[in-house]
Symmetry: C2
Subunit: 197 residues, 2 copies
Amino acid sequence: MQLLKEKIINEGIALSEEVLKVDSFLNHQIDPVLMAEMGKEFARYFNNKGKKITRVLTIESSGIAIGLTTALELGVPLVFARKKKSLTMSNDIFVAKVYSFTKQESNDITVSKRFLSSDDHVLVIDDFLAHGEAALGLASVVEQSGASVAGIGIVIEKSFQAGAEKLKEAGYDVHSLARIKGMQKGKVEFMEEELVK
Amino acid sequence: MQLLKEKIINEGIALSEEVLKVDSFLNHQIDPVLMAEMGKEFARYFNNKGKKITRVLTIESSGIAIGLTTALELGVPLVFARKKKSLTMSNDIFVAKVYSFTKQESNDITVSKRFLSSDDHVLVIDDFLAHGEAALGLASVVEQSGASVAGIGIVIEKSFQAGAEKLKEAGYDVHSLARIKGMQKGKVEFMEEELVK
């Protein structure tokens, strides 16, 4: 998505070969117009694929804004999973363990059983895809409920890390709005664009 | 706001005299259409007051959705403050201490100095107003930057707790979309509506 790539080039800061800082428009300060446009793009892509999405699922905090604009465009509710340090044992929630490579710790993500049912077709949305842990955790929550994963929408995919490949191998339809081939301090290189179907 | 009150009556669950559960549309599952309408109402109210808002400030996680629709309607960036358990000493951030009566602990909220400047007129947005701690913390962050607080927009005000009074005494223009006079288990009573200017 051209608008997003331009934002990354103009405002993103590659701090190292692995860390891209985008806090001026994505995960601390938020550009609402960009969010709305990205929500439209996710809706367009998955509608074109004939997916009958009934809910959008994301994870707090950075997924909420892009989840919301996508849900608004699709006309369905948004659910955001909560992160907890320790396991809350409860019969009322779905739980998945998510390992953070950045923080080197596991967190549980939880969703109330009231907000996912076996009839649902769920679009999973997240801001970043690196090792795929968060997206796989969200997909696991969906599958625990008996619902189906209609697809996975990602704002920024770090294509040089393992997540995208893992998700595709697991059979998910992944749509990433910007795909980064590699980074060096101060420099971001994007994957060549395939024609989007 | 009638739409919100109906949601609270139909889907909100008063668990006690103090706790109102609204996780089916506000802070776990989110109703995007309601969020969009509430964002329009905040923009309408504060535009009518002649406030030239340049930024919206809220707090993760539950403030992000309503902050985003408000910022989208006003055509300005959204900034969300982060919650931290312990103080991150840094010259790059504004910090305020926020006491949670529910959790009986203090957290720091932080905002990068890059995203607030002395020229800004900032609309503070939050989902709940009870004792006023979060809103006062956000206002403190705004004032540390030299910016002005253009107003405070609240989705649900528990008018029987001290927060609303505290904010008004401090001179802030507070606009709450639903004002709850009192609760009993299973029952919510709203304040009588003044005519909104």
